[in-house]
Symmetry: C2
Subunit: 249 residues, 2 copies
């Protein structure tokens, strides 16, 4: 058996999420079905760096799986992409060590969140960026973002359903760029709690629209109370952009 590491893109709008569920179309379900076909009906389980929710996209999700097949990266890509539905695509496949683990070995992740403001909806962005009716004060959003960078207990910024006990995470990067008429928020961290990016975005939107003062951010952090932070921003703006592993993995 050879362990393979694959990088996968998907448009999340047609899925109930990454992870296999009893009902609904999932990314994992589609991938495992294709791998089963390539293995003459034998089930091949895949393990991802983490789940993504319904409607959330991925540019660089990473998965691993074991296979007796000896194919090159390009051969895997060709074989899988010809069978996968057109909203999922393998962009890279490489051999990995037998102890490589897509989830446990991930040391950092990068997410991006796309949004735009203004009175007019863009039909071409409806699944790919969040639309905010009003205008946004980007400078204030950047200052609020700076308060969230670094190592904090992010209890206020994760879903009440989060099961992990330790909610301390480090945000190495939280940048807000203007790309054309859109804002792109880039998050790099050593780990992200459930809904953490979307709740941070929702809170920054409250700052950008003047509903929330920047000075409130440290208080929200120290309250460790989900109800203090902003709403969970919509799924369609969010992309799992890249997963980082240690050298040689």
């Amino acid at each position: 058996m050879q362990r393979y590491k694959a990088t996968v893109s998907y448009d999340g709008s047609g899925f109930t999420g990454y992870q296999i569920q009893p009902k609904g179309r999932t990314v994992q379900g589609e991938i495992e079905q294709v791998l089963r076909k390539l293995h003459k009906g034998q089930a091949v389980g895949v393990t991802a760096s983490g789940r993504t929710d319904s409607g959330v996209h991925a540019r660089g999700q990473v998965i691993h799986f074991d296979s007796p097949l000896k194919l090159s990266g390009d051969q895997w890509i060709k074989a899988c992409n010809s069978l996968l539905p057109d909203d999922i695509s393998f962009s890279k496949v490489e051999e990995a060590g037998s102890n490589f683990h897509a989830r446990f070995d991930a040391v950092q992740k990068k997410y991006k969140y796309f949004l735009y403001g203004g009175p007019i909806r863009d039909p071409f962005r409806r699944h790919f960026a969040a639309h905010i009716r009003g205008s946004l004060d980007v400078k204030s959003m950047r200052r609020a973002a700076d308060c969230l960078k670094g190592t904090h207990d992010f209890s206020s910024f994760c879903s009440a359903k989060t099961e992990t006990d330790n909610k301390v995470r480090t945000l190495f990067e939280l940048e807000i760029e203007e790309q054309g008429r859109e804002l792109v928020l880039t998050f790099v961290g050593d780990g992200f709690l459930y809904n953490m990016v979307r709740i941070i975005v929702g809170t920054l939107l409250d700052v950008g629209s003047g509903k929330l003062d920047i000075d409130a951010i440290p208080d929200i952090l120290s309250a460790k109370d989900r109800t203090m932070a902003g709403k969970t921003a919509p799924a369609e703006g969010l992309y799992l952009w890249e997963v980082f592993y240690e050298n040689g993995k």
Copy 2:
């Protein structure tokens, strides 16, 4: 009654085309349904600059309609966009003279066609750009495009179903730009025959992939025979980008 001119964007992937049909979801059908609601059940017909086929997009389709309502442009946009499905959006509405006609008064149109080459499909572009497996010789495509600019009988470059007798049209512009890893072909002309842009793109793709020699282009033009040109390129790459009217319309 006041005549209004509206600029409309739509993602064509969910429609059987622009024009109302007995079966299937159409852009015109959705717009007329919304206008009917805004007019207390009274039917309001809309006239577009032209049809677009199933899967073809618009960034700047222009329509006109008559209404007894006296609303400002922003009020029309707000009222229509709140009722329209999220794959159609009004971006501009203005008062027009009572003799303004979205189709007959159009003097030029701009189309864009987006495509990309390479072995890996992009799930995010599957409805918005055509994917070509091989690589393309852009220089040759540009030289072939230059042969098509100007005034020609485009009989070889329109669907055999075209009903217009006069197939002479002028292409003022046919540029090929590289935008990231995509090619964007921009067409500006005084009029376009049925499938003309897509057949030109299909023929340029034959040149770009080495299947067709540039010298063949003048022969294809003079043959006035649809079977001499390339295949009709897929709908998903095509956008009606802008419609031009004479000053003051």
